[in-house]
């Protein structure tokens, strides 16, 4: 049951992972995935953009929260088993405490119009943050018509036709695999 050897030339400790993920957990309004990308790729340069995209894609096909999956994988890649645990603890624990406090606060102030307006305004901005993250991930695919067609089909199926996720995965995964196979050089 020995731990994996850490990734070579990786100076990242579990404590640094915990602090990094705990920080974005506390400031990460509106779904934390854009923040995880910001921390891991832009801010700390723990992963390249390509590697993050591929970990993210993999996480989408694992059970459970996809943010959680990415955090487990980034933490584990940088600092082994303890790195995974540190990243998840940092990501979830402060947010869980905070949301319970917020629920109590809201219970006492829900009648105030300003409070409702604030929550709604942040919801709209959060949608924009997720859109920006998706667009940034489309950019590296811009030279692949195959990938762009699949992106478009999935967006249509999920957002316009509102098909159940299981159907989308069951049809698009084989289609995308065949397309990837055919365009392989």
């Amino acid at each position: 049951m020995a731990d994996d050897p850490p990734v070579p030339a990786s100076p990242v400790t579990p404590l640094q992972l915990f602090v990094g993920f705990a920080t974005i957990s506390i400031v990460g309004f509106g779904g934390v995935m854009p923040w995880v990308r910001w921390l891991v790729v832009d801010r700390r340069r723990w992963c390249s953009a390509e590697e993050f995209a591929s970990l993210f894609a993999l996480a989408n096909f694992l059970p459970g929260g996809n943010v959680l999956g990415v955090s487990v994988m980034v933490g584990g890649r940088l600092a082994g088993r303890r790195g995974s645990l540190a990243a998840v603890l940092g990501l979830v624990a402060p947010a869980a405490v905070l949301v319970c406090l917020l629920a109590e606060l809201y219970r006492r102030n829900a009648h105030l119009e300003a409070v409702q307006g604030m929550v709604e305004g942040m919801g709209s901005a959060a949608a924009g943050l997720i859109a920006a993250m998706g667009l940034r991930m489309v950019w590296p695919l811009r030279k692949s018509p195959r990938a762009l067609v699949i992106v478009l089909l999935v967006v249509t199926a999920a957002a316009v036709l509102r098909l159940p996720l299981v159907w989308i995965l069951a049809t698009m995964l084989p289609a995308s695999l065949i397309a990837a196979r055919l365009t392989e050089r």
Binding site: L55, L68, S124, A126, A131, A132, G134, V151, A159, A180
Partner: protein, 175 residues
């Protein structure tokens, strides 16, 4: 087994084992279970809990924390949170090791190339759906969504800036 705490924990544990595509995809089923099957809360309460979990910082799965908090207080919140994390912790760690070992294999690369556009499509779809629900077709709110996206695309500054501006505009009643 009549203990709500145990039932809820098992339910969330099961949901997080099948939640492919993010925990958010399990919310309708969680709603059905706690409101219609068990009668632990009303639809209105569940909707409020969901809205609060969205307005709060942190990953989407903290909606389960709040449901646990509502059903069984502090132990409920703690167990519900653990139940959302544990399955992913094990599965994702195993997947990461598998990727480290086989990541250079040709077939693995091909599977990655196939999965990536689907994942990106799902993100964009989530953004679209979220923009539609939060705006209620109000042009000012849609413009705010667009401005927030643009800010993140052209600058590398903290996403907290557009969120703070949006919160201030909302609190001032301008949206």
């Amino acid at each position: 087994m009549d203990n709500p705490l145990g039932l809820l924990t098992l339910k969330i544990l099961f949901l997080s084992c099948i939640a492919v595509g993010g925990f958010i995809a399990t919310v309708p089923e969680l709603n059905r279970f706690v409101v219609h099957v068990q009668g632990w809360m009303t639809d209105g309460t569940f909707a409020t809990l969901f809205a609060l979990s969205q307005a709060s910082p942190g990953p989407n799965l903290i909606v389960a924390t709040l449901v646990g908090w509502e059903v069984a207080g502090l132990p409920g919140a703690a167990l519900a949170t653990l139940a959302t994390c544990l399955p992913t912790l094990f599965v994702a760690y195993a997947a990461m090791r598998f990727r480290t070992r086989h990541g250079q294999a040709g077939w693995f690369r091909m599977v990655e190339r196939a999965i990536l556009p689907i994942a990106v499509g799902l993100i964009l779809a989530t953004a679209g759906l979220l923009a539609a629900t939060t705006s209620g077709a109000e042009p000012r709110r849609l413009a705010l969504t667009g401005a927030a996206a643009l800010f993140l695309l052209v600058t590398r500054r903290s996403p907290l800036i557009p969120l703070a501006v949006a919160a201030a505009l909302g609190a001032a009643g301008l949206l």
